[in-house]
Assembly symmetry: C2
DNA sequence: GGAGAATTACGAAGGTCTTCGTAGAAAGGG
DNA sequence: CCCTTTCTACGAAGACCTTCGTAATTCTCC
């Protein structure tokens, strides 16, 4: 009688859009989230409510009732989901070799010297910290 | 009368598995690909054939007939797909800020000093090249 | 040339995703 | 108290995904 749900690790397209809004808003009602959707991604109010209900079923958000209205909040943090996604991409597409991932990134993007400098500073900091 | 197909930019789970095999094999028959699948991902022969047919419909591979057998080859390169995926991840989850993506990466992974060094070398090379 | 093996073509079944409408409950102001 | 507005719950429709079986085709080689 165990909970045999194999949890979905990842968000679908629309779910990600909603989580992004929730991450920005912190707490939000269905109405808040619907209003915050980019014009190109507007959905009917009931669609928005459905997505949030599904997100709650899947454990990505929780809700508390205030009056007759639910207030939603993300349980999955953006940082955590960034990590999870990067890890997945690295595994599935870069032979689990983060350096290869960065290589592709710096090759593809027309990164400004400034951005490159930032990245370099990150690496240096990490190298210094590790030394300790 | 234009070709109104809105092409799917991205591979599904199973499609990615198959493309990965094709990228490794170069050219391959249904049988080859099926044999190359990881044990945990084995599929019936006809399932493998179906996936390859779908990949061809979607334009990710081409086939040529040799005798009675199709030989498949990727048209989408792994490099291209890596770029596309990274770009998508950066847009959707890192506010289009590649430096933030790298920051998360170096924070999450227990990168060895060696790996960090490799990455740093990549950045330095790019910085030097850009200077020219 | 016909039996047997391998291959391709197709469709069905079951699952998930996305979107929305309808129905009913809750709230609150006149 | 009841009308209107706002909200939740639910189910349906259509799309796509995944997997496979069956049927038809092709090849081989005795």
């Amino acid at each position: 009688m165990s909970d045999n749900k194999k949890k979905t690790q990842f968000l679908t397209e629309v779910e990600l859009e909603f989580m992004t809004r929730l991450w920005e808003l912190g707490q939000a009602t269905v109405r808040d989230v619907q209003d915050a959707l980019a014009p190109a991604k507007k959905l009917a109010y009931t669609s928005a409510a459905t997505i949030l209900r599904i997100l709650e079923q899947k454990g990505f958000v929780t809700s508390t009732k205030l009056g007759k209205t639910f207030i939603y909040q993300a349980t999955l943090s953006k940082d955590t989901y960034q990590s999870r996604s990067l890890k997945n991409l690295s595994e599935k597409l870069f032979d689990n070799t983060p350096a290869a991932l960065v290589a592709r990134l710096v090759d593809d993007y027309d990164l400004t010297e400034e951005t490159l400098g930032e990245i370099r500073a990150l690496i240096d900091k990490r190298l210094r910290d590790d030394k300790r």
